[in-house]
Symmetry: C2
Subunit: 192 residues, 2 copies
DNA sequence: TAGTGGTGAGACAGGTCTGTATCATCTTCA
DNA sequence: TGAAGATGATACAGACCTGTCTCACCACTA
């Protein structure tokens, strides 16, 4: 092999450990020392795999975004557009009920790195754009492209808003109300 | 007077200076030294008015929430519930176009202080609850209480989501799409 | 056996952070 | 004039931050 398996293992272990700490305590509040202590690796091991803390954050966000996309891909077996959207909302409902739910790490990244030119900002914005594009593509099958564009934007806003509500402890009502609104949007926009 | 006017002036000046820095650079990334340098006050002056940095943050959030409520109060002169909600959306549209718009500072506070028992978290959550209650009260005049509860939750999610989109540079489309969706929600829920 | 690459452990530099202490200065009002 | 309170300026402590450096260790391989 080009690289030994132990190498990739260490790197991935650091990414997942950092993810758990970032999402719980935030990016600035989580120090390198805490990450390497929790991951039980030497500091130099971390800095050999990632150029800097910001580089690690970007790697964490990209890994998390890919996992998110993969999970939705595996669930996308429903026939109708309405059901496909519903599957996405259901995924969020289950996510809200997870033990270690602390809000959306991408939204948090946007909050802590407000500069649009910053790599962390870009990585977080890309995840949002990906989710919107996914829903837009689904809706384009049942409505004009222009309507699919604005409807998918509205659905994304509902999901983001629901995630914020869930972080404040109202996850159950949030996703139910969001789906009620989403259902209305799809139904109205679906019938020209 | 009980306290000299200069006292309140200094305190308020610190609050507004800290607000400008917090919303632009975040809470953890903004140090006390930078706040007092920008405000041109001594460090002890700041610590005489606020018990700690967290105390200053809470004071900033509470002041900003009160200003927000005051601004909406002044605009709430429309007759119909639909127009009253529209006024709130319009306020956000103007906000998005402001020169120093960097997203919602309350959402950012929730992101950086994830502990629900933390005073900063509570102050931020209170602002969201206040906005929802305002819209809920408006809607209760034209629909059953139960529907007003879930409709106001959906409207809040749309606003929060639109604010996130605006932070990513899509403010114009965001508020338009949000209002389109909101209009549908109000219209459908309005006719039983 | 000897070399090679990944790793662990920890010291270290240079800077920044929050919060406290000290003392001089200014304004205000009696 | 004199007292009192608010403020400015600055030094300081103790902790934490990111990132670099050195050296020893271990597994594997030629």
């Amino acid at each position: 092999m080009a690289s030994s398996p132990a190498t990739s293992d260490k790197r991935q272990h650091i990414v997942e450990t950092a993810y758990a700490l970032f999402k719980r305590f935030g990016f600035h509040a989580t120090g390198i020392d805490r990450i390497i202590a929790e991951a039980e690796v030497a500091k130099m091991t971390m800095y050999r795999h990632f150029p800097s803390k910001d580089g690690l954050i970007v790697a964490v966000l990209n890994w998390r975004a890919q996992r998110f996309e993969r999970q939705l891909d595996q669930l996308a077996h429903e026939a109708s557009a309405r059901h496909k959207i519903r599957v996405i909302f259901d995924w969020h409902q289950r996510w809200f009920h997870g033990a270690d739910f602390h809000g959306c790490i991408f939204a948090h990244a946007l909050a802590e790195f407000g500069d649009p030119t910053h790599p962390v900002f870009k990585a977080a914005a890309a995840q949002k754009a990906g989710l919107k594009l996914r829903m837009q593509t689904i809706l384009e099958g049942v409505m004009p492209a222009e309507r699919a564009e604005s409807a998918s934007a509205a659905l994304l806003m509902l999901i983001e808003g629901a995630t914020l509500m869930a972080q404040m402890g109202r996850g159950d009502d949030a996703i139910a109300d969001a789906w009620k609104a989403a259902s209305t949007i799809i139904a109205v926009d679906d019938t020209p």
